[in-house]
Structure formats: structure tokens, C-alpha cells
């Protein structure tokens, strides 16, 4: 499973969406109508799944932002 697929699965599960709705360029606030609490949950699940720490949700707007963040953290480990 790629990082994208893992994150896609988390978002699909948390927001009750179809996989087709969650793509790399999807903005989860605008297009998926995720609010701050949804985002906290998604970040929590990502932190658990990848065993990383996401300090701030600022600047995280699209699925690609999350994938890039996780990739960078994984490289740094």
C-alpha cells in the first residue's frame, strides 16, 4: 500500500466518503467539508498508522499536503 492509499483509506473511513472522492488534489476542508474536529481525527489516525507526530494542522489543506508531510517524516526517521 502506498502512503497515499493508506491516507485515502483513513479519510474515507473518517468522513464516510467514496474512494473516488478522495484524490491527491482533493481539498478536505472545501471539497469534503471536513471541519476542525474531522481533521483532528484524521491527523490522530495518521499519527497512529505511521507512528509519526504532526505538530500543527496549519498548511494542511489537500490530501497531497498530508502525503508529503508523512513522506518527509518517514524519511527523517
Amino acid at each position: 500500500m502506498t502512503t497515499f492509499e493508506q491516507i485515502q483509506e483513513i479519510i474515507v473511513d473518517q468522513l464516510d466518503k467514496e474512494e473516488s472522492e478522495v484524490q491527491l488534489d482533493t481539498n478536505f476542508r472545501d471539497e469534503l467539508e471536513a471541519d476542525s474536529l474531522d481533521l483532528f481525527q484524521i491527523i490522530n489516525d495518521i499519527e497512529d498508522e505511521f507512528d509519526i507526530k504532526i505538530e500543527s494542522e496549519e498548511g494542511l489543506n489537500t490530501v497531497k499536503d498530508l502525503v508529503d508531510y508523512v513522506e518527509k517524516q518517514k524519511e527523517a526517521k
Binding site: 471541519d35 476542525s36 474536529l37 483532528f40 481525527q41 490522530n44 494542522e57
Partner: protein
């Protein structure tokens, strides 16, 4: 030595008459009914028009005492859980003791923010087993509105004022308190701060602090959604029962979304989680005793029925705790 069981004998609540709907808040700050409801489940809250915490606690205690006629001289203990006392001294509990004429009762306040009622019940049931009088009154009461920064829309829309009281009785037959799981994580205490007082005296001239409540929403959210499912699972295990045997889970009413997440995480249906946050907002230490009293009043929970109930709360400190009781 014979050990005595401690049971819940009666409950009561009181909230200020003044109801403030989300719509009213939109005149005070940039917010909307939809925003508040969607994120928190809150529709309205009660805000004091002058009554202080002791006034609410006295009325809630009188409500509990009015349902079971007892000799108030047999009350040996009054604990008020609050983070918004009228004053540091006398305690709110002292004022309650005087008002209800419980002249033989030891009275003190307990500070554990939103977990205060759980800590208070835990302390009271243990003390009561060793006291000469058979009744104890545990009250959670708050006037949160006086500690809020009403220009901060992130926190001020969340809270409300109110009080709830529980009368405990030590008797020979039954035992309500089956297991408990209490925790504190002081290292994360800065995530929720309220009522700070600066040191000012002739040798230290600092600016006074406003004491307003501040909260790191994400830190609290993370802490609650991880620690509360775990605490509930632990208490049930300690009580040697299965989650499926719990009739109702009464959680601190901080946010309906948080309760939904906990219900999902422990895989129990949301119908097992009575909620009233829509009518009160987060009343801190008062939320559980108000919910318990309402649940008894509407017949969901029946005193003396032997139903298995989980009570769980979380808040500043950070503090959290869960009790498993047979009601």
C-alpha cells in the same frame, strides 16, 4: 470489621432560569447557530444573571434532599467539585453546609475541573465508610460564564452554568461502587487553564491576570479521544464484566462529537450514551450530576434497579476518571 455498602440515595439539579440560544450569541460575537451545533451539538446554555456557584449548589442540594426526606443532621460530609468557586474562602461547600443546616457535616471544595464530580464521588464513598454519619452530599457546580473571555468565540460558546447534587447513603446491604479508574497528567496541564492569579505584593509588582479560561482544542481533543475509551475499557475489566453488560455510559457533556467518537471506539451504540449537551453546553463539574438527575427523572435510569452504569469525565489538570456503578 463489618464493611458497609455505599449507594446513591437521591439526586437533584438546578440551572439558572436564563436560557441563551446560539442565535443570541451571534449578536455578541461573529459565530452562527449552524457552526456551533455542527461542531458541538449545543443549541442553548443557561447563563447566570447574578447567582453565584454557591446559589446553584444550594438549590441543587435542596432538590436532592426534597426527594428523600432525611434528617440533615445525619449528613457527615459535603463536597463541592468546582473550578469557579464564589471565593477561595469560605468554600462553596461551607456555604451549602450552612444553607441546608447540615451542622454535623465536614465541608470542602475539590478542584479537578470537569472531572471534579468523579473525583468527588470517589473521595466521598471512601470517606463515608469511615464516618460516624451515614450520608454524604457530592455536588458539582459551576458558573463558567464568569471565567470566560466573551470576545473569544472558540471557548465562550462551549460552556454553561449549572449544578447537580448526589446524596450518598451508607447502608448494610447494597454496594453501588464497583470499580474506578482515575488519572492525572499534570505535564499537559497547560492545555486548559482558568482562574490564574499573578503574584502581586509589596516585593513583587506584576500586572494582574484576567484569569480567563484558555484551551488548546486539539490537545484536549486528542487526550480525550485516546484516554477515555481506554479508561472505560479498564474500569469494566477491573469490575470483571463485559462492555456489553453496561446499561448506560454517562460521559461528561463537553461535546456531542467527542461522545460519538468514544461510542465508536468502544463499539457500543450511541443509544447507550444519554446526552443533554444541546440544552446546557459544557457545565464542567456539573455536567454529570445534571445528566444523572435528568436520566433518573425521565426513567432512563432507575435508582435501586441494579442497572450497570459507567460515569466518565475528563478535563483540566489534565484529569480524567471513570466509575463503574450499580445504581
Amino acid at each position: 470489621m463489618k464493611t458497609f455498602g455505599v449507594t446513591i440515595h437521591s439526586t437533584g439539579r438546578y440551572v439558572p432560569d436564563n436560557e441563551v440560544y446560539n442565535e443570541t450569541l451571534t449578536h455578541w460575537m461573529e459565530t452562527s447557530d449552524e457552526w456551533i451545533r455542527k461542531r458541538t451539538g449545543i443549541k442553548k446554555r443557561h447563563l447566570s444573571t447574578g447567582e453565584d456557584t454557591s446559589d446553584l449548589c444550594i438549590r441543587a442540594s435542596q432538590a436532592a434532599l426534597s426527594k428523600q426526606k432525611i434528617d440533615v443532621s445525619q449528613i457527615g460530609l459535603v463536597i463541592v467539585a468546582t473550578m469557579t468557586p464564589d471565593s477561595q474562602s469560605p468554600s462553596v461547600a461551607s456555604k451549602v453546609q450552612a444553607a441546608i443546616k447540615a451542622e454535623n457535616a465536614v465541608a470542602f471544595d475539590l478542584s479537578a475541573a470537569c472531572s471534579g464530580f468523579i473525583y468527588g464521588l470517589s473521595a466521598a464513598e471512601k470517606m463515608l465508610r469511615h464516618m460516624s454519619h451515614p450520608y454524604a452530599l457530592v455536588i458539582g457546580g459551576e458558573v463558567m460564564s464568569k471565567t470566560l473571555d466573551w470576545s473569544d468565540r472558540k471557548t465562550s460558546v462551549l460552556f454553561g452554568d449549572g449544578a447537580g447534587a448526589v446524596l450518598l447513603k451508607r447502608d448494610g446491604d447494597t454496594e453501588a461502587f464497583i470499580a474506578e479508574d482515575l488519572h492525572t497528567d499534570g505535564g499537559k496541564g497547560s492545555a486548559l487553564v482558568s482562574g490564574e492569579q499573578e503574584v502581586t505584593n509589596p516585593v513583587c509588582a506584576r500586572d494582574a491576570k484576567n484569569g480567563f479560561l484558555t484551551m488548546d482544542g486539539r490537545a484536549i481533543f486528542n487526550f480525550v479521544t485516546k484516554s477515555i475509551p481506554n479508561s472505560i475499557t479498564q474500569v469494566v475489566k477491573k469490575g470483571s464484566i463485559d462492555l456489553e453488560e453496561v446499561d448506560f455510559f454517562l460521559l461528561h457533556q463537553a461535546n456531542a462529537r467527542i461522545i460519538e467518537i468514544v461510542s465508536k471506539k468502544i463499539d457500543r451504540p450511541l443509544s447507550k450514551f444519554p446526552m443533554n449537551i444541546e440544552n446546557y453546553g459544557n457545565t464542567s463539574a456539573a455536567s454529570l450530576p445534571i445528566l444523572l438527575d435528568e436520566s433518573i427523572e425521565n426513567g432512563t435510569i432507575r435508582l435501586g434497579s441494579g442497572q450497570t452504569i459507567v460515569l466518565s469525565a475528563f478535563g483540566g489538570g489534565l484529569t480524567w476518571g471513570t466509575l463503574l456503578i450499580k445504581i
